[in-house]
Symmetry: C2
Subunit: 228 residues, 2 copies
């Protein structure tokens, strides 16, 4: 059971604290602003008002006992650097910092932060990637150059058996799962039916609205998508 | 070939424009600040200085010709609302807006924006989820309640054949792919060898450092991870 400190309760810090709590984790929430501390008080394990650049104050609230500290105290790089360094000096095993710019992030990495998060850049890149590949629902990079892609079954395969599509032969891409949109038994409650076929058989019939999970090299996946 | 307008070249807008261009897309970049326009000028198809709340100016630069507009002009909700409405009235088929708070996002949804992005919340939730499930490298939600998870092979399966692990029998989870860390032929260049086995056979030997791609219901995946 790991304990987390979230230092700085802006939108990012607050969402981190909320999600950790929703995932059953213990959270120590810290902010210099008493209103922020009060707003989150009922949600987290402990909420404490504290100037995190004050080393003695951080020590006094027991930051040395946490396993992970997330530092998200806004634009001022000096303050972030100070807080990160203090956490590390007090022995916090893992320190993560939010940064606005890559320049600031590099400074934080130089002083040894374990991970830097760039919210605007990361969500922008995800959005742009999704916009550039609109037929793709989700994408995960398995290892360098190998992707896992979720996409609606292309119209030309509708009505075919999986083996008739010859997707693997033509594209070197594997259909790892099929999400059925149809063929559900109306007499059985929806949440008791398996909508996902984890182990597609060659004789599965592909229907309109089905979703395919594909695994393959990125260029093969791209070629598959372009040719639909 | 879709054309994109990015209105507002803060960190988010700039990263959207850069990523779209990197993905081969046409980008019209717009900002009221001439410095921002100049900085991005070499990268995008067109960069234009313009007050996006000025309907005539937006029309004059041809916003009605784009397929997708991404609006990321900062904190002022009134300005964002105005720009979103103008884009929609001028016939832009898809309008996406960045928002800081869920409250602002709801206003934008009410006026018909097709999608709202919350960079701080979304990246915070991703970080927190990753922190709460540290043995998981990547996670994708296939459909509600069904996940695709990438994780290192648990120590107790090292040295076993895939079928000996009985992962499917015990956990109702499918091993959809295995990323080999070993067993590569040192005489063959790395980039010519297939590190990923898309179609794992029951007789594959699992080695230390291998990575498994698992598909299953979330509660089964969680149980699998907890029991390792
Ligand atoms: N020295 C400090 N010690 C503790 N908390 C601090 C300190 N300095 C700033 N904070 C808190 O950090 C929080 C985040 O700061 P701010 O809202 O300026 O940053 P932000 O990075 O823009 O936030 P967001 O996460 O919304 O993007 C605020 O609640 C602020 O009170
Ligand atoms: N009416 C407008 N028309 C065009 N551009 C505008 C307008 N108002 C603001 N902008 C531009 O939008 C950009 C983003 O604004 P700002 O940096 O305030 O927002 P932000 O949402 O905090 O950005 P970030 O993406 O870095 O989080 C700025 O470059 C600004 O010049």
């Amino acid at each position: 059971m790991r304990t987390f400190a979230v230092i700085g309760l802006g939108r990012f810090g607050t969402a981190v604290a909320e999600t950790l709590v929703a995932n059953g984790q213990e959270v120590l929430a810290i902010d210099i602003d008493p209103d922020k501390v009060e707003q989150i008080g009922d949600l987290v394990t402990h909420a404490v008002q504290c100037d995190a650049t004050d080393e003695r104050a951080l020590k006094a609230i027991g930051i040395d006992n946490v396993d992970v500290a997330v530092v998200s105290i806004g634009e001022a790089i000096e303050a972030s650097v100070l807080v990160v360094m203090t956490c590390m000096e007090l022995g916090v095993p893992e320190v993560i910092a939010k940064s606005g710019t890559v320049k600031q992030g590099k400074v934080l990495e130089k002083i040894g932060v374990h991970r830097v998060v760039y919210p605007e850049r990361e969500s922008a890149m995800r959005l742009a990637h999704a916009l550039a590949t609109p037929n793709q629902l989700e994408h995960l990079e398995l290892v360098k150059g190998v992707g896992v892609v979720e996409m609606p079954v292309p119209p030309r395969y509708v009505g075919m058996l999986l083996r008739e599509t010859q997707i693997r032969t033509h594209y070197n891409v594997n259909v790892a799962a099929v999400v059925r949109s149809h063929g559900l038994d109306p007499r059985v409650p929806l949440n008791e039916q398996d909508r996902v076929n984890f182990i597609p058989s060659p004789d599965d019939l592909l229907r309109e609205g089905d979703i395919l999970l594909l695994i393959g090299h990125e260029h093969d996946l791209a070629r598959f998508q372009e040719e639909q």
